[in-house]
Point group: C2
Chain length 132, copies 2
């Protein structure tokens, strides 16, 4: 229904892939479950079905999902554990270092961000002393 679904910082098909990954990790989609049909998703988010298919094919390539023509696409056995390993490694190696650097650069306190609510207002002044 909403169309502010998409982030301009990443292609839609990858965001679709990430959305399904999140659902698997959150236990919303369990092993053996069918994932929302290509055509349904395409209609719901008003996106071309080829774009959805492309996102889903990524999951097939990652062995997370199996496609059964005429039936649908289904979560593979072991998908969640596979993800917990792979995504952790990817996150720690590729994303977190960058994010962590940004946090330090902005003078934000990691502890504040990690504990409690993410919405807490940072009342820090915007005046900081440069590094050297």
């Amino acid at each position: 229904m909403m169309d502010r679904e998409w982030n301009d910082s990443q292609p839609i098909y990858r965001q679709l892939r990430d959305r399904v990954v999140a659902m698997i990790l959150d236990g919303v989609l369990k092993e053996g479950d069918p994932l929302p049909s290509v055509r349904n998703v395409a209609a719901e988010y008003r996106v071309n079905h080829l774009t959805v298919l492309k996102g889903y094919q990524q999951l097939v390539d990652e062995q997370l999902v199996e496609s059964k023509r005429g039936l649908g696409m289904f979560i593979n056995a072991g998908a969640r554990n596979l993800l917990l390993q792979g995504e952790r490694q990817k996150f720690l190696a590729e994303e977190w270092p960058r994010v962590r650097a940004t946090i330090q650069r902005l003078g934000l306190k990691p502890e504040e961000l990690l504990d409690g609510g993410a919405t807490r207002r940072s009342k820090q002044a915007a005046e900081e002393k440069p590094k050297p």
Copy 2:
């Protein structure tokens, strides 16, 4: 020298913009300083100079940088404070919620993320219980 400089998750010109922003925040580039010339950067990273220019133009549009034809591009007064405000807001509103959700989803512990190097090996078992 290295050509593994670029992340496929974001266009080069935006990564170039972010790189300069980081240098300003880190105090490597101070107000009044010239930033590395379009052509130099293009040559060093083996990228088209138009791509570099596009990244730099973003900074001009953000009032962070001023262009002087024949001389170079220079960091504006107040650039750093402007950034500390704007980038904090952007980060907290757009990036952090997504990252935070990922962290929880992967069952990563704040201590793991904060201590020492981000490269520490996560020895957690890949077995977790789903949400519901």
